[in-house]
């Protein structure tokens, strides 16, 4: 204490204290506000968008046009939003392998970083649905299985089948299975309406209801085959097939055996 009081009246004491105080306030402020440098963020963002644009020009523009304005064989991407790009590209649907009926799910061509860059580029063209974040997608916490099942049967089952196994549409198009699809892609499909699927806006199905649907799908996915082999969960067709092949086959085999003469 004695040492400190000795320097208290030192000439440099006041300016030093001022500097310390200023530094302290500045540091506190910068830590508390924790906003990264705006201009550097914008810089990083424009770099990502530029990267996305380069990918787009190489991989997508031959069909979707140099400015994503669309063409004779592919729609315009202006205003489709990041969610649409993430769904189509991250599930491997885009780029399309063949143009005959509809884009099918396959191994993705681009890495997650490239997909993010593409999404950022397309989102930069015009506002559109954004990729839902992890905080929003907490379906385990915010969803209800029973309600989700009811919503699924009301809105989805007519194309995707009662157990989400998918179904046929006209002219070779189809609603794919929703089993094994990542929650974020299910959500994106609902808000963007890819291929033949309609858009389910937040007014028709609220975000909480969407989470309930995802929760039900995940619960159906995890549900064990309660009655034995599930036969594909596509209804009576496979049941009829089984009884006409294995079922009656065994019984006719037994009948032949029973009617054989003892040797």
């Amino acid at each position: 204490m004695k040492r400190l009081s000795k320097y208290r009246r030192h000439r440099a004491a006041a300016p030093l204290l001022l500097i310390i105080a200023l530094l302290g306030i500045g540091t506190t402020f910068s830590v508390a506000s924790a906003t990264p440098n705006k201009s550097s963020l914008a810089l990083a963002r424009s770099a990502i968008i530029e990267e996305g644009k380069q990918i787009f020009l190489k991989g997508c523009s031959s069909c979707h046009g140099l400015n994503a304005e669309g063409g004779a064989i592919a729609p315009s991407l202006i205003g489709v939003g990041a969610a649409s790009v993430d769904f189509q590209v991250a599930t491997g649907r885009m780029p399309m392998a063949d143009m005959s009926t509809q884009a099918m799910r396959k191994a993705p061509v681009y890495s997650p970083q490239e997909v993010a860059a593409l999404a950022a580029y397309v989102a930069s063209l015009a506002p559109g649905p954004e990729i839902p974040g992890d905080e929003l997608l907490n379906y385990e916490r915010d969803g209800s299985v029973a309600e989700g099942g009811e919503l699924f049967r009301n809105n989805c089952a007519m194309c995707h089948n009662f157990a989400g196994q998918g179904g046929a549409l006209t002219q070779g198009k189809y609603a794919p299975t929703v089993m094994g699809v990542e929650p974020v892609h299910i959500y994106e499909a609902m808000i963007t309406g890819p291929q033949s699927m309609p858009v389910f806006s937040d007014k028709i199905i609220t975000p909480e209801e969407k989470l309930s649907i995802i929760k039900w799908i995940k619960s159906a996915e995890a549900e064990p085959a309660l009655g034995g082999a599930s036969l594909g969960r596509v209804g009576p067709v496979t049941e009829g097939l089984l009884v006409w092949t294995l079922g009656i086959g065994i019984l006719i085999g037994v009948a032949v055996w029973l009617a054989m003469k003892a040797r």
Partner: protein
């Protein structure tokens, strides 16, 4: 005589003195049944029916046939708290909370599918071997009645749990009822006790499903079996088998042991499949609400052909005098099935009209020896099969990455074009097989042994068939077409000339065969 034999004798005597059963038993226990695997197909249907009675009774202990609305509080969490009918809730209860309930439900449903499959394969056996001929025409009609009732009974059972799939089925049934011109809407109103779905339907079809139809089934099955008993079973031709005898094993003990054992095997196989393969997982379908529908909604297979016919019907409607006639439902849903089942029931009479054959037949035909009948059967099967395929067009399109429209157009064209082609091909194959038989009888079997003759020619040695085999290949009759002159003996044109012309045309087609070996042919061979 041991003590045990004495007691058994006393018991038997006691019963006999009061019922007179001994003479009856002695006669009937020695009754002979021919042995062939294809004669056991009907038994599969009979045993499946017994399994259905047993498992169905079990299910009624818990099933609540009511459309009263309840809130589900049971074990299956994904439906927890949902509103549903008591019928659906109690089916969930049977599936998840009743011990062995799910297994029993699956046994019941698989047994129903087996029942219908067995009826159809039994019918095919009876048809293609000509077992329906006099004196068995009535039994054929009873059989067709059992098939028809089986379809109805199966459909009602499929409808009872009031899940999304069964409700969809009832909705389509209602549409077909409504398609009946003029009175359709009234009938639908009476059946449903008001507008669809109402609250009356499940209790009503429950009564029909568990009381009325099983009662009719029991009565018809009893008459069916009594007629088999009384008329004796048909048999395949063979050494010592004639139109006047039955060669086989006595009912007791051989046939009884085999038949009794077979019952347990059918029960065992049904239970095995029910234990390893899921059927009608109603908890996945969810409760029925008219606003919902699932992709790939299908009926059970025995209704699939009917669904397929409706699916391929072009959209045709007529509006007249304030009424709408939906031809797109009426024709495939009622008229075509009506024609199919009437034709099926009347077939024995049609055939005997064409052949003019009014004699009794107890020896079965080989399908190839009756080319026309076999070809008609193949034609009908092709028709039904295409309808059945179209019934599953959405599942086929999805599983094999095909276009549902293409499958539908294939079915629309195929159902008209393919049955006649099947007829012609089958008939040609039958006649070719007859020629092969003729060849066998005349020249024997190729032995594969080559012999070189002294002058250098190589010939293959043919082994002559045994007399039994020769008889098998030549026993059948070939009576030729009916002679139906247009002008009668008095030189007057007959009044029924047009009908006779049709009949003689059909008779000619029916008599088209490869001539079987005659004694004349054999003599010529010996002459060589």
């Amino acid at each position: 005589m041991t003590a045990r034999e004495r007691i058994a004798g006393n018991v038997a005597n006691y019963v006999d003195e009061r019922t007179g059963a001994a003479a009856w038993m002695k006669k009937n226990l020695n009754k002979v049944f021919p042995d062939h695997w294809s004669f056991l197909l009907g038994e599969i249907a009979l045993y499946s029916f017994v399994i259905l009675l047993l498992s169905g009774t079990f299910l009624t202990f818990w099933f609540d046939p009511s459309q009263r609305e309840v809130i589900y509080e049971g074990a299956y969490q994904p439906l927890s708290g949902l509103k549903m009918s008591a019928a659906y809730a109690s089916t969930l209860h049977i599936s998840f909370e009743v011990r062995g309930g799910l297994l029993m439900r699956q046994i019941h449903h698989w047994a129903a599918l087996f029942f219908m499959v067995a009826i159809v394969v039994h019918l095919l056996r009876v048809y293609f071997t000509g077992a329906f001929r006099k004196p068995r025409e009535f039994n054929w009609i009873i059989g067709v009645g059992l098939l028809t009732l089986g379809i109805v009974e199966g459909f009602l059972g499929y409808s009872l749990p009031d899940d999304l799939l069964s409700g969809t089925g009832i909705r389509i049934a209602e549409a077909i009822i409504q398609a009946v011109p003029v009175v359709g809407t009234y009938i639908a109103f009476f059946a449903f006790g008001g507008a669809f779905p109402g609250e009356a339907f499940i209790p009503r079809i429950f009564t029909v499903h568990v009381l009325l139809l099983p009662g009719i089934f029991l009565a018809l099955i009893t008459v069916h079996l009594m007629l088999v008993w009384y008329q004796k079973h048909t048999q395949y031709p063979g050494p010592g088998r004639t139109e006047k005898n039955v060669v086989g094993y006595p009912l007791f003990p051989v046939y009884m042991a085999k038949a009794g054992g077979f019952f347990f095997i059918v029960f065992g196989v049904t239970t095995f499949i029910a234990a390893v393969a899921s059927i009608n997982p109603i908890w996945l379908y969810g409760p029925y609400t008219p606003g919902q529908i699932s992709a790939g909604s299908q009926p059970d297979w025995y209704m699939g052909w009917l669904d397929g016919l409706v699916r391929m019907a072009p959209p045709l409607e007529t509006h007249a005098f304030g009424h709408t006639i939906s031809w797109n439902i009426l024709i495939p849903g009622l008229i075509i099935p009506g024609i199919m089942f009437t034709g099926l029931a009347l077939y024995p009479f049609i055939e005997s009209w064409i052949t003019g054959d009014k004699r009794e037949h107890h020896l079965l035909d080989r399908p190839r020896n009756v080319p026309n009948r076999t070809a008609i059967g193949a034609m009908a099967l092709t028709f039904t099969l295409i309808a059945l395929i179209n019934g599953g067009n959405d599942i086929i399109a999805q599983q094999f990455h095909l276009s549902i429209n293409q499958i539908m157009w294939f079915s629309r064209i195929g159902i008209i074009v393919l049955p006649p082609i099947a007829f012609v091909i089958t008939k040609r194959i039958c006649i070719s097989l007859q020629r092969a038989d003729r060849e066998l009888v005349l020249h024997g079997k190729e032995s594969g042994r080559l012999v070189r003759l002294p002058h250098g020619e190589f010939v293959e040695v043919h082994e002559e068939l045994s007399p039994e085999k020769k008889w098998l290949l030549t026993y059948h009759e070939q009576s030729g077409p009916l002679e139906l002159p247009e002008i009668d003996k008095a030189g007057v044109r007959r009044t029924d000339a047009i009908r006779n012309k049709l009949r003689s045309r059909m008779s000619e087609a029916n008599a088209e065969v490869a001539p079987k070996v005659s004694t004349q042919d054999l003599k010529e061979i010996e002459h060589h």
